[in-house]
Symmetry: C2
């Protein structure tokens, strides 16, 4: 660590000073190199470089909405889906279902159905994460949503590990979005679209960060 440098995207909190530093990460070509000092401090005294790097890729996963053109290998799509389906699910019911979209006309149509989803037009790939209510534990919407969200987070993290950029676009619970996406993708009646994930080669660079807030943490009881 030599020169403090500005580093955007950090939510300020009492525990996060204002001037994080640029720090090169040895051996990692993937995660952008920017640490919040307090975390770097903790990690440097407590964790090995290996663990520090792995943790950093959780903090380095950011919402990437600008993409460079370029193909994504077919087998990488498989890896993203394997990662998504490595998430835990309630009673291991795995109610998640996925619609992979590569055709530009379909990507445009999905973008059209989602406010703030314009950047999906530039993505190489869209993956709509759905849940089948008939498959969910006890047919509960709550479990369906939790299971699909855990799968979507795994998918985003895997994309980041592969050096791709991705962004979560909300669908559920907006009735109009659910209706339009369901019609567009011809989803069965019991299958609910929960979120769309846009994936492409990152066209913007965002530093790792946490939005940790000490006020959100309680001990033993509220």
């Amino acid at each position: 660590m030599q020169t403090p440098a500005p580093c955007g995207g950090l939510k300020k909190s009492p525990s996060q000073p204002n001037s994080p530093r640029k720090t090169p990460l040895p051996g990692s070509g993937i995660a952008p190199a920017c640490f919040v000092p307090v975390k770097a401090q903790i990690m440097s005294t407590t964790f090995s470089d290996d663990v520090r790097q792995k943790l950093n890729f959780i903090f380095g996963r950011r919402s990437i909405r600008v993409y460079r053109p370029g193909p994504i290998p077919e087998e990488w799509v498989r890896i993203l889906l394997e990662a998504a389906m490595a998430a835990p699910s309630a009673a291991a019911k795995d109610p998640w279902r996925f619609v992979v979209i590569r055709r530009p006309s379909t990507l445009h149509a999905v973008a059209e159905a989602l406010p703030h989803g314009g950047f999906l037009r530039e993505a190489v790939l869209g993956i709509v994460v759905c849940g089948d209510l008939e498959a969910a534990h006890d047919r509960q919407l709550s479990y369906l949503l939790q299971d699909c969200a855990a799968a979507a987070e795994n998918l985003l993290l895997a994309a980041h590990i592969l050096g791709l950029g991705a962004c979560w676009l909300g669908i559920h619970p907006r009735e109009d979005r659910i209706r339009r996406i369901s019609a567009l993708l011809e989803l069965p009646r019991t299958v609910l679209p929960v979120a769309a994930v846009a994936v492409g080669w990152p066209g913007e660079d965002k530093p790792p960060r946490t939005r940790f807030e000490a006020a959100y943490v309680h001990f033993e009881k509220w």
Copy 2:
């Protein structure tokens, strides 16, 4: 790869042959070394060792319900919470709240309130992931659940990276569990307990795996 060895915990699917192999992972002391051959094949031809190892920690996160005794440093708890709060949330509202439980009497009481939660008694740490409905985007329960689930998944992955074992215990939408946990932790009226995460030193070893099912994947439309 020399000798094929049995490797439990794999859900069989047409794309996953029955006899995965034990493969030592260079430089990683954390994730158990067991690959599904098809994935190892894909990865060995397409990804660097670095990326392969990082991906493997997503597949290596398993539900660990047996714990060895031993303290978890205070700053590691902070890292787990930083990882949880590095998840995306709808409109960045961050409705997640956390109750960290270390006192054995409280861990016992939480275990008592959760069916199948007995192993929480042996955990070093319990983190109850809650959501504040007043803080959620548009005060929607759906967003609250999705945001809390993404945070919980990050928490589980960070625990795994640190070499800890963890397991997700469902609370929402079970009315009786919500009522008992809310009373026990004295949660405010608008704060819903979503899940409890048990954390400790792993007392069981589970191989990496995905529950990937080709039938759950559709292309362009259903």
